[in-house]
Structure formats: structure tokens, C-alpha cells
């Protein structure tokens, strides 16, 4: 045996097919609602895999000796092992395996951009389409929800120290689950009336049903984590009070980036111009799609233009489409290749009849006498040199302005962190963009205060928030362990 094999013992393959046979099986498509049907409802677009599809898809895994998919995952889920368990029909075992690395599998199986993470490096993808890892993750997560097979993981003996987690989005939930398992008493403070953060107010029901989010939150609570809603840290309580009056020994800031950006163009404050945050919060959190059964209304016109090219823009335009307009239009100033949105969401939007206009930049929103919107004036763009991130920069074409007949405009051009905590916490350093500055371990400039996800990144993904939360929970554990040692009474 070569030395390589000594350091990496070959793991026995359990699927009885030759690699060539596995590679020849085509990727299985999930069960989905017909586009013509689903634009009339808010039910989930995809039903995912059933047992048959999942079993057949699992056969495609090459069971690599050195699984690159795990390295492609921001939280290093042991993908090979959980797929093997699916092949062996041990679905509960598979979900337990995932939960060792990621406490929110039913959520991440649905909203992770797998095509640019685990699936992008999958070796099956070299010759065929990659293994549908995300759909398999979702399958076992849903299996557990449907069968009620969840038993809370073992929780360490109490450490006698408590941690405050600010925000109940994916990052806050992850930190809480990790630290509760290590024996810390965790309380989450949530500003809104429901826990879940962006998973509740931002991501639509048709992509991430809210009962799924609640199921995952219940699993976090099952570890003993307390959730206090209607508490705004920075207003109702300050970070200083959490430490000095309430006895918390560490604080994690996972408040995300929820403050909408605007283009700063004329006409942007007309009544029928929304931020995507407002549109999505009205529909997702406040259930405006059930008005008047629910009291929160949403006023949308017949020709709706959504500005932006990310996942939030896709969510906003697809949500708009479900309010039965004549047209739901997406305007993006670069071309399709530069769109940051997930490929699956772009594909779904196209299937649903969303009209895409690329290289189109809004310059003014024109109103009528009564304050309604008459049209949006746009400028054609062309692609110039790449910017710092390597995306080609859009350059306006002189004299190319044209009018587009719309009556509702939604701005989905990005969010920045809410400034309340930064303004009310002395000693907390922030960047010029309003993000909280953290080191590689998630520590902020303030002792005992840690942060991660969009509050420090400005706008990333759910799985990045989960990964940051895992990193920060390790740092918090180390910090509190040292603190415990220092404060422990000297023996003898």
C-alpha cells in the first residue's frame, strides 16, 4: 500500500454498481407543480423527491474515497455517508448524519445554491449532470418531519453560563442549537412577532413553506433554547444591559441585513414603489395573500416591474406574478450571466412567465397627476470591463432611453444591515457600509460580542449564515471556557 492509502484508508463502497453504470443514470427531476397552475397559488413549487426517486438518485453517487462535495459545502456535511444511508433505506439515519453538521436541513435542502457549492464539484457532473444532493437532503429532512422521527441530540451537562443570541434567522438558530448542545443556556431575542427572520419574512411560502421553518425552530427549542419575540436589541434592551443586568456572558449578533437600498432616482417615492423587503414582508410574514382574512393589504397593479438580479428580486417578481398581473417584468442592468440569483429560481421564474429585460437600467419613474405610476424610463446598457469581483461592469449607451408602461415598481437592489445595534452599542466597530467588523472567528471589537451572516457580510446566503454561526459558536465556546477557568475558585 502506498503512503497515500495509509493516511486515507479506502472506505468500502456499498452501492453495487460500477462507476460507469452509475454515471449513465440520468439525474432525476423533482416533482413540481405545473407552472400554469402554481402561479395561481402560494403552495410550494417543488414537492421534491419521493422514496422511489430518492432511492434511484442515490444510486448515482460515486462514493468517492475523497468526497469533494463535502469540501464544497460551507458546513462540510458528510454527503457521501448520508447518501449511503439513503441507499440502505435508513432515512432517519441519513437525516441524523446531516444534522451532525447542519441543524437546519429542511431549510438548506430547499434554499442552498447547491449548483455553486456541493453539486458544482460533484465528479458525476464531469460527464453527466451532478448528483441532486440538495433534493436528497430535502427528502430525508421532510421524511423526518412527516414521520415525526426526530429525537433531540444529546445535550452536554450545563456549563452554568448563558448566551444571548440577537436575531432568529438561520445564523441565530444555528448558534443557538450548537451552544445549547454544548450545555450553555441560550436565549434568542427576536424583534418581530415571529421567530425565523428572513426565512419567515423574506423567502416566499412557495419556495420555503413556513410550517417547515416552524418545524426546524421547534427542533432548536427542543434543545432548551428560549425565544423571546417582540424584543428589539438596541431599543427594548441594549447589549450593555444583556451583560450587566441580565447576566449573559456572551452575545451573538445575527440580525442580518434587512434595511432596503433605493436607487435614488426621481419618482422613487411615488406610492406604488415598494422595496422588495416591504412587498415580501407584507406577503410572507403578514400573509397579505390571504387579505382580507388577514388584515394586512398589498396593493399591486397590472404591470409590475421588479428591479434587480438576485434571489430577492426573483422572490419579489415571482410573488408579484401570483397576484395575477398582466405582466411581471424583471429589469436587470447587466446580462443573464452576471445575475447573482440561483439558476433554479431563474428557471422557475421563466417557466412562470416572468419577462426578463437584461442590460436595462431604470433612470426615472414617471407619475400621473394622482400620484400613480405612468411609466418607468430606462436606459440600455452594454457590458464593459470586469469590476473588482470579476463581473463585467454595465456601461450606459448614450441616447438609448426608452419608456416602459408599468404601474408598480419594486426595488430589489440589495439590503444593508439595520443600524440600531451599531448605534446603541459603544465599542462596536463597523465598516463604512454599516456592517459589523469581525475577525475570522466571528469576534467583534467588543469583548464577548460575536457576529456573523449578513450583519457582517452585508448580503450573502442562508448557508453562509449557518457556516458563520458554526464558526462563531466554536469561538464563543472557547471564550466562555477560558472565562470559566479564570473565574473558577482555585482548588486547594
Amino acid at each position: 500500500m502506498s503512503r497515500n492509502h495509509v493516511s486515507k484508508p479506502k472506505v468500502e463502497k456499498i452501492i453495487p454498481l460500477k462507476p460507469r453504470e452509475r454515471m449513465q443514470i440520468p439525474r432525476h427531476a423533482p416533482i413540481e407543480q405545473d407552472p400554469g397552475c402554481r402561479i395561481n397559488n402560494f403552495s410550494e413549487v417543488s414537492d421534491g423527491f419521493n422514496v422511489e426517486l430518492a432511492s434511484e438518485e442515490a444510486l448515482r453517487c460515486l462514493e468517492c474515497n475523497d468526497p469533494v462535495c463535502t469540501k464544497g459545502c460551507p458546513v462540510n456535511v458528510d454527503i457521501r455517508s448520508f447518501i449511503g444511508l439513503i441507499y440502505q433505506k435508513d432515512y432517519q439515519g441519513a437525516i441524523n448524519k446531516i444534522r451532525e453538521s447542519n441543524y437546519l436541513p429542511a431549510i438548506c435542502g430547499r434554499v442552498c445554491p447547491q449548483e455553486s457549492l456541493c453539486e458544482s464539484v460533484c465528479l458525476v457532473g464531469k460527464k453527466n449532470e451532478p448528483l441532486a444532493i440538495g433534493k436528497l437532503e430535502r427528502f430525508v429532512a421532510d421524511y423526518e418531519i412527516n414521520t415525526g422521527g426526530f429525537t433531540p441530540p444529546k445535550v452536554d451537562e450545563s456549563k452554568g453560563q448563558s448566551v444571548a443570541v440577537v436575531g432568529s434567522g438561520p445564523g441565530g438558530l444555528t448558534v443557538s442549537a450548537e451552544l445549547a448542545q454544548r450545555g450553555y443556556a441560550v436565549t434568542i431575542f427576536e424583534a418581530l412577532h415571529e421567530a425565523g427572520g428572513v426565512l419567515k419574512f423574506g423567502i416566499p411560502e412557495f419556495r420555503l413553506p413556513k410550517h417547515i421553518v416552524d418545524a426546524e425552530i421547534d427542533r432548536v427549542k427542543a434543545l432548551g433554547v428560549k425565544i423571546e419575540t417582540n424584543v428589539i436589541i438596541g431599543r427594548t434592551l441594549t447589549i450593555d444591559e444583556l451583560f450587566e443586568e441580565m447576566g449573559f456572558e456572551a452575545v451573538y449578533l445575527g440580525t442580518g441585513a434587512g434595511s432596503p437600498r433605493f436607487l435614488n432616482i426621481p419618482g422613487e417615492n411615488l406610492g406604488d414603489v415598494y422595496s422588495a423587503s416591504e412587498l415580501l414582508t407584507r406577503v410572507n410574514l403578514m400573509k397579505a395573500y390571504k387579505f382580507p382574512e388577514y388584515d394586512t393589504p398589498l396593493k399591486l397593479g397590472k404591470r409590475i416591474a421588479v428591479i434587480g438580479g438576485g434571489d430577492v428580486a426573483m422572490d419579489a417578481v415571482r410573488t408579484s406574478k401570483r397576484f395575477n398581473p398582466e405582466k411581471a417584468i424583471l429589469l436587470y442592468r447587466r446580462s443573464r450571466d452576471e445575475m447573482p440569483a440561483r439558476a433554479e429560481e431563474v428557471h422557475h421564474a421563466e417557466e412562470e412567465g416572468v419577462e426578463f429585460h437584461f442590460l436595462t437600467n431604470p433612470v426615472e419613474i414617471h407619475g400621473n397627476e394622482d400620484g400613480s405610476i405612468r411609466a418607468i424610463e430606462c436606459q440600455k446598457m452594454e457590458l464593459g470591463e470586469p469590476d473588482e469581483q470579476g463581473r463585467r461592469r454595465p456601461v450606459p449607451i448614450e441616447g438609448s432611453n426608452f419608456m416602459m408602461d408599468v404601474d408598480t415598481v419594486v426595488m430589489a437592489i440589495g439590503q444593508k444591515p439595520n443600524p440600531i445595534i451599531q448605534q446603541t452599542t459603544p465599542g462596536l466597530e463597523t465598516s463604512g457600509w454599516g456592517t459589523v467588523i469581525v475577525d475570522g472567528n466571528g469576534s467583534t471589537s467588543r469583548e464577548g460580542v460575536f457576529a456573523g451572516g449578513d450583519i457582517s457580510r452585508g448580503g450573502a446566503t442562508v448557508i453562509q449564515a449557518v457556516a458563520d454561526g458554526k464558526q462563531a459558536s466554536r469561538s464563543i465556546d472557547t471564550y466562555l471556557t477560558e472565562k470559566r477557568m479564570e473565574e473558577a475558585p482555585v482548588q486547594n
Binding site: N230, V231, T236, L237, P260, L270, S275, P297, I420
Partner: protein
Amino acid sequence: MYVIHRRTPLSSAITALEVEAPLIARKRKPGNFVIVRPTATGERIPLTIVESDSERGTITLIVQAIGKTTQLIHTMKEGDEFEDVVGPLGEPTPIENYGKVVCVGGGVGTAVVYPMAKALKAAGNKVISIIGAQNSDTVILEKEMSAVSDELFVTTDDGSRGIKGFVTQALGEIMERGDDIHSVYATGPLPMMRAVANQTRGSGIRTVVSLNPIMMDGTGMCGACRVTVGGKLKFACVDGPEFDAHEINFEELIARNKNYMNQEREAMETLKQEHQCQAG
């Protein structure tokens, strides 16, 4: 949680509610507001905190039944609970001893001006107040305003109480007296605040108004409450709710606030039908 301890009718459509909210009561300063949601299917709406009692752990809110949500709140009884109350929100009113100030409340806006007047009086200011209402039934907090003011004017549109006319008439009289007014604090319907701003603009008297635009989360997240102040985009929930009245683009704000009138009407119709069904 959020139990109504005391309900006091102030007029046929305006009610004061003392609500249990100890964490908010402890922190609240004049100028702060809360977001409330009366029921689990309800809307989130902002309401100014009129008074707070940190020992009793309560805050006092005043609500006028206009739309469905305010109508629901108006009919809540002692012992009933709000589904959610969150706050205190907004930047508090900066309070100093400026000298002489005028506090103007129009309609239910008097409930917003009262805590400012009280704090300004306590800080040593000479406070002249004006309460404006449509008629004698809708004059609220007269006794309370009187207690914190050196001088109080009441105006009604129909003359059924006090001076017949708008608050601007009383303000005009005060300004004509040549008093050295340092600041005017005004809150009421948008057209009233715009009229006050126009009235004081020429003399350059500092004029502060508290805005109550459409709002959802109250933490700077939805952008529904955006308003142009001095040519810059501001969110009333986190940058306000108080702004320099001379810098506000009132036309834009008035147009934005009308946006949901049809939906409001639909919601009210549903509420009426529900009541009829229950009655029948």
C-alpha cells in the same frame, strides 16, 4: 402579556388604553412609539406612547377608530390582550430649556404632542399649547394639556368649543403678539402640519413635527415610511418620527399615505359584514 389594565373613552371614537408592557415602560422617552398588532391575523400599526409608568410596568396608548385595525383596538376591553406590542421605537424628542415653545395638537395628534409638552414644561420651558379638533366631542386631553401649559388655546372647526377655526388661526395670534417663540411642535393630520410649517417658515421659527406614515416593522426594514427631508431619503421609524417641518416634502408624503385607501375601505366593509353576521 400586553393586557389592557385600563380603558378610558376620550370621545366617541377615541380611547386611551393603559397596557402592560414592563420592558417598554422602563425605557420609554417622550417621542417614542410602539408597533402593536391586536390579533394573530392583525396588521402591525404604529402608536405613540402617551405616558408610561415604569413602576406599574404600563404604557398608555391613544387610538382613534379610523380603519379596521384601529376600530378593533377601539373596541378592546379591560382585561383583553394585544397579540404583540414592540418598542420603544423612534428617536426620542430632544428636550432642553429653550425658553418659549408652542405645542400644537390636531385631532388625535394631541396625544402625540402631550408627552412633548409635558417634558418641555418639566425642563423649564414656557409652554403655550393649542388643541385643534373638528368639534367639542373630539377635543381630547384638554385637562392634561392645561396642566402642562402656561397658556392653552382650543380651536374647533365648527366653533362648538373654543375658537372657531383651525389651529393655524390660534398660532397666528400667538405669533402676532410678538412673543419670542423658540420652537413650534406640531402633530396632527398631514395638511395641518404642512399649514403650520408654511406659517412659521417666513419667520424662521424652528418647527418640529412627528410623522405617522405607513409603517410595518418599525425597525428600518420595510422602507414603507420613507420620506424626503431636506432632499434626503429618511425612514420615519428609525431616523424620526420627528423632523424639521420646513424640510419635509409634504406633497410626496400625502400622496404616499393615500395609497391604501381602497384596501382600508374593503377591510372596513368586511369588518362591518362580520359584525352584521354575528348580530344576525
